[in-house]
Amino acid sequence: MTAPVIEMQGITKTFPGVRALSEVSFDVRPGEVQALVGENGAGKSTLIKILSGVYHADAGEVRMGGEPVHFAHPVESLRAGIAVIYQEFSLLPERSVAQNLFLGREPRGRFGLIDERRMHDETRKVLDLFATGGRIDPGRAVGTLDVATQQMVEIAKAVSHDARVIVMDEPTAALNDAECEELFTTVDRLRERGVAIIYITHRMREIARLADRVTVLKDGEVAARFDAVPEPGEIVHAMVGRDIADFYAPPATEAEIGDPVLTVTGGGNAHLHGIDMSVRAGEIVGLAGIQGAGRVALAMALFGQEPFETGEVTLAGERVSFRTPREAIEAGIGLLPGDRKSEGLVLMQSVRDNGMLTPRAFAPLWSSHKRTAQADLARIDELLDRMEIRAASYDQDIRALSGGNQQKAIVARWLSMRPKLLIFIEPTRGIDVNAKAGIYHLMRDLARGGAGILMISSDLPEVIGAADRILVMQEGRIAAEFPHGPTERDIMHAATGETEVAA
């Protein structure tokens, strides 16, 4: 057996208030695919960022080819032969494929000018290593390529850096099935060339198809290590490590579900086609699909941010059409955005101000900020108390709170508006594993209180565990519908259009 190219030993990393990794050891050998799995927040990204020099470990050691290494900056790890392909590509959309591949190290020719021909030829050579790479024109602007091809360019970039280790962070999140197959072929090629691959995913199918070994992280620790791919059940058990029934709130009973609060018939716009769906009072509807399937677009259409152009929407029996989020909120819809920091919070303001944001937005501009029609300061404090938000004081800037507490403050904001329909986008993204269960139970409580809940999530176990009914989207359409409790496999089939699944 070959010696590991990377060994990480006893890695510990603490962020203020959170222990992200404790005593994690991990290694990867040349020519193997090591799958790194775990739930959101298990510590996968932190581990990779330590490997690549973005973060520095509080304790522990990274060895490369047996020698201890210390990367102060991502550039150093890249030069040493470690390339990381994040979900957010680091490509320049305005620049050509070749320019992106050779960014920062362009080959020079006469007079120190960039040798464009050589750059093109070498790009061509790298791209030709892959079955599908041959189709890519090195001169084309990256921004004009589709997501799968851009990812191909990222991989080619790693290869052109002579990377001995390539990290792929959930590379199939935005790919359709055929594109996934191409990616797998590419990964096989890299493996044949002796590249060590760290493959981050939580999809069992990909692990079975690609991985040589599997490491499972949970709550910042190594929960299990497998030298061969085990049964999916074993991995899931190691990943979740607790009784699922208790983690998620119990599904709604027949009696708890009421009349539809929302119905959409034939809804469509630039991103969506023929949307027919409903959400009933007391019900949590999960919305699954791969990235780019139009789940967020659907939420934004319902919320008036990018409205439907065709079709009909009714809310609590009344026909509605919203052109702005403000109109949607007025009619009784609330939305918790997926990216809390950039879309949900006003970070420089206090916890209380964040809670009062929407009530104040609907009060007259010149009236007192202490009391609005929906809530006064005492009422918002009461709601914040009810959410059990941990903060030194509600006058504190919300920025200093943990992700879970920030999320609860946004929920408190919406509770003061007594919405009929609440849309949660990625409700537990970036939230501590321990705080997740709290959010699921909170959603259930809201549903029991008579609201309809639409939950969009990329985390399949979450959708399966928390939703009473699941809609699966594919290419801007609703492709399938499942009652509570389908398998991940059922959903993935529907999401990638492999087989038609009857609703």
Binding site: V75, R79, E106, G112, G294, V296, I425, G476
Partner: protein
């Protein structure tokens, strides 16, 4: 926002933005021709006259080339107008009518430009001061220093140096040839050198550039130096044309705002990373054509100023209105 989950939109916008400067230029030219014909002043349609139109915007063109560099790295420079006045005065005072002092005066002006650019760049990239504020502050400092020393035309430019503004080769003004050479050089630097490639990278995605090992701070500083040196060349040109330097010539020409407007009309985006010098040149042509239209139509100079403000805002709006981002 939420782009990650929205199906990729079609790329129709790409083409439009690429050709927009040319479309605008054609439109401006058409208006020019129509106004000239309509007011029965077809003498304005001769080649000589078109060259004359170009020659009027040389200072703006030189400044705008420099401004293109800073905007490409997602910075901005509002100190160019003051710097133009300062270098014009400096050069004219150093020369003081003596041909022997031409070279020292040019060097002094370029050195001043280089230092101002260095200071701007270091304040922006090192102290992380918002570039608008940093260069506005710099503008105050330059203007204050300048008015402390001179309050009127100062020094004089020897005839030998007036060739820069008034000389002609054949029927083409020397300054116009200089502007063309400067534009070609700037294009070459942006297109064929590693420095040019780094500029687009820093403006396009600073973090990606840093991860690729590009020293982003240095690129920002270098772009500011180029911008300020271009402004000091514009100052030299104006000193040559006015035969002396005065502390108000930069502010009078509104070179700060106009150079930014010209760059933006040329399709370079204020957020950085996209655009180039040829667009800027098209923008300069558009502005000089509009100016000429005002002249032909006999618009009063105060009214011209009013229209100019409106046109600048309209030009930026022409690009900005298509974006969905909330701006402040």
């Amino acid at each position: 926002m939420s782009a990650a989950d929205t199906p990729a939109p079609t790329r129709a916008g790409f083409r439009f933005e690429r050709w927009a400067p040319l479309i605008l230029l054609a439109g401006a030219f058409a208006i020019y021709v129509i106004v000239a014909v309509a007011t029965d002043q077809t003498q304005y349609l001769t080649l000589e006259n078109l060259i004359a139109i170009l020659a009027r915007s040389i200072a703006l063109g030189i400044t705008a080339i420099g401004q293109t560099f800073v905007i490409l790295v997602a910075s901005i420079d509002l100190s160019v107008a003051s710097l133009i006045s300062a270098t014009a005065v400096l050069a004219s005072v150093v020369m003081d009518g003596s041909p022997a002092m031409i070279l020292p005066a040019i060097l002094a002006a370029l050195l001043l430009g280089g230092l101002v650019g260095l200071a701007n760049g270091l304040v922006v990239s090192g102290l992380k001061v918002n570039p608008l504020i940093a260069t506005l502050g710099m503008s105050l400092i330059i203007q204050g220093c300048l008015s402390a020393f001179v309050s009127n035309f100062a020094g004089s430019v020897p005839p030998a140096f007036q060739v820069f503004a008034y000389g002609e080769i054949g029927m083409v003004p020397v300054a116009l040839i200089f502007l063309a050479l400067l534009a070609v050089t700037a294009w070459g630097v942006l297109r064929f050198t590693k420095f040019g490639s780094d500029i687009y990278a820093v403006g396009g995605n600073e973090e990606a550039a840093r991860f690729a090992g590009i020293k982003t701070g240095r690129i920002v500083v270098a772009s500011h130096v180029i911008c300020s040196v271009c402004a000091s060349i514009a100052g030299l040109y104006l000193a040559s044309r006015l035969r002396s330097g005065a502390p108000w010539i930069g502010a009078d020409g509104v070179y700060d705002l106009e150079s930014i407007a010209v760059v933006v009309i040329g399709g370079t985006v204020l957020a950085g990373g996209r655009g180039g010098v040829w667009g800027t040149m098209a923008g300069m042509l558009i502005f000089s054509l509009i100016d000429s239209v005002f002249n032909i139509a006999g618009v009063d100079s105060f009214a011209k100023q009013v229209l100019r403000g409106i046109i600048i805002v309209a030009a930026v709006a022409f690009y900005a209105i298509r974006s969905k981002r909330i701006v402040a």
